[in-house]
């Protein structure tokens, strides 16, 4: 009968038994096949974003996001940064809101607004049209025209001192008178060209708008409200009076133009670049 050896057996000896636990050779063939499949799958499968960022792909990913992030920043900048020179879209609203604290300017703006009601003002700012009408009527009255020009100048320019635009308008009026037979378009163009660089087609585009065309479709009312709120927010002084006044005086053509540009349809706003 075989006797067990008297050799001492330690814990280390027992643990060394684990080295003798080995899988059969066939196991490694299956192992290699499975590993190859997983390796190919790993090469083909796109990894989630957190693993790509963890592997140092943060800056490339940020580079891919640069366009949308930049676009959002640009839009935010357009609406949040105060603009020294008013653009066509927000010019009247900015002018009205910025002159609310100045009594003289408020009076002038009100005068211009009252005078502009009968002229069906479209894309051209009301103060310049008022000045042009004064020229055409030849009412005795350079002082009247000058007064009109002086009165409207704060409303035309945004963020600039009122004296400079007024002086420009004064200089332009004699030239317009000299032209005599020129049309209202030319007068308006000469008046506005020095101050606001309006294009002549803007005044040519004015036409008689039929009452039915003035009706706003119900689906675009929301777009109008959103647009008004955006413009009022961009003015920096977003008092309710300014936005309401702007909404009431915003011409149909300009409103449609802005709605088209911002892509306001129904319940959403789609900004185009």
């Amino acid at each position: 009968m075989k006797r067990p050896s008297q050799r001492p057996v330690s814990l280390e000896d027992l643990l060394r038994l684990k080295r003798a636990e080995r899988p059969p050779e066939a196991f490694w063939a299956d192992f290699d096949r499975g590993l190859r499949e997983k390796q190919l799958a790993a090469l083909l499968r796109s990894r989630p974003w957190w693993q790509r960022w963890a592997d140092g792909g943060f800056w490339p990913a940020l580079g891919r996001l640069a366009l949308p992030v930049g676009a959002i920043g640009l839009i935010a900048g357009l609406f949040l940064v105060p603009r020294p020179n008013g653009e066509e879209a927000a010019g009247p609203a900015l002018a009205l809101s910025s002159t609310e604290n100045v009594p003289v300017a408020v009076v002038a703006a009100e005068m211009v607004a009252v005078a502009a009601e009968g002229v069906a003002v479209a894309a051209v700012p009301a103060p310049a049209l008022e000045a042009a009408a004064a020229v055409e009527e030849r009412a005795s009255v350079e002082p009247v025209a000058l007064a009109a020009a002086e009165a409207v100048s704060p409303a035309v320019t945004v963020g600039e001192p009122a004296a400079a635009p007024a002086r420009v308008a004064k200089d332009a009026l004699p030239a317009a008178w000299a032209a005599g037979g020129q049309t209202e378009t030319l007068v308006a163009a000469s008046l506005l060209g020095g101050t606001k660089r309006f294009e002549p087609r803007a005044s040519n585009a004015r036409s008689v708008v039929e009452p039915l065309q003035q009706m706003v479709p119900p689906g675009e009312r929301r777009g109008t409200r959103i647009l008004t709120a955006m413009v009022a927010a961009g003015a920096g002084e977003n008092g309710p009076r300014a936005s309401e006044r702007f909404a009431s005086r915003l011409s149909e053509e300009r409103l449609y133009d802005q709605i088209e540009r911002f892509g306001a349809r129904g319940a959403g706003v789609n900004v185009r670049f």
Binding site: M1, K2, R3, P4, S5, R7, P8, V9, S10, L11, E12, D13, L14, L15, R16, L17, K18, R19, A20, E21, R22, P23, P24, F27, W28, D30, F31, D32, G34, L35, K38, Q39, A42, R47, D55, G56
Partner: protein, 228 residues
Amino acid sequence: MVFRFAARGAAAFASAVIPAAKVLPQALIASPERRQEADADREIVLRVQAGEVAAFDALVLRYRERVYGVVYNLIGNREDAADLTQDCFIKAFRSIHRFQAQAAFFTWLYRIAVNSTLSQLRRQRLRSFLSLDQLDTEAPVAKEVIDALTDKSGADRATFAQELQEKLNDALQRLSIKHRTVVTLFEIDGLNHQEIAEVMECSEGTVRSRLHYAKQQLQAELAPYLRR
């Protein structure tokens, strides 16, 4: 053709530049054999990093049994161990561009294996069960121990060996995960304290302490099979 040329050029550039900058810390590698192995690994890794994907197979062939052994001894289930070993190599393959020769490749690979296994053990703590590989009783290591413990032969000897294997694995599974890891790496895989500390990202003192405690617990569990 162009890809091969580019890969060869990148490999040549890397081998010309990197050895001066990224010399392995020799103090971390204990034995000369391990050091030679680490140098050979580094060359293969550089080839893989240069775009020679097929060179990774050499690393798999070299380390698959050792990595499988670590994972198997930690988890005690051969099917799970096979899956985890494959996943470990996939992770290493994906991350090999981030591997820098601050440590030996096998240390880095062991770290991936151990961390993957520990994560798996934490996930399936309540549903783990043993599925053991066959114990080769004729292997010199096993034969000597079994001969010292029993005088049985034939089927009885095989039954005794199986019983001993189950008791041993059961005792190992009763250890905490960290203690089991230290025992596995030190006693079964033959890493030294410094290498284990690097793999487990802890101090050598912690490794020694865990090893001491784990051995105490194992001696209590396996007392019937010990002979002084």
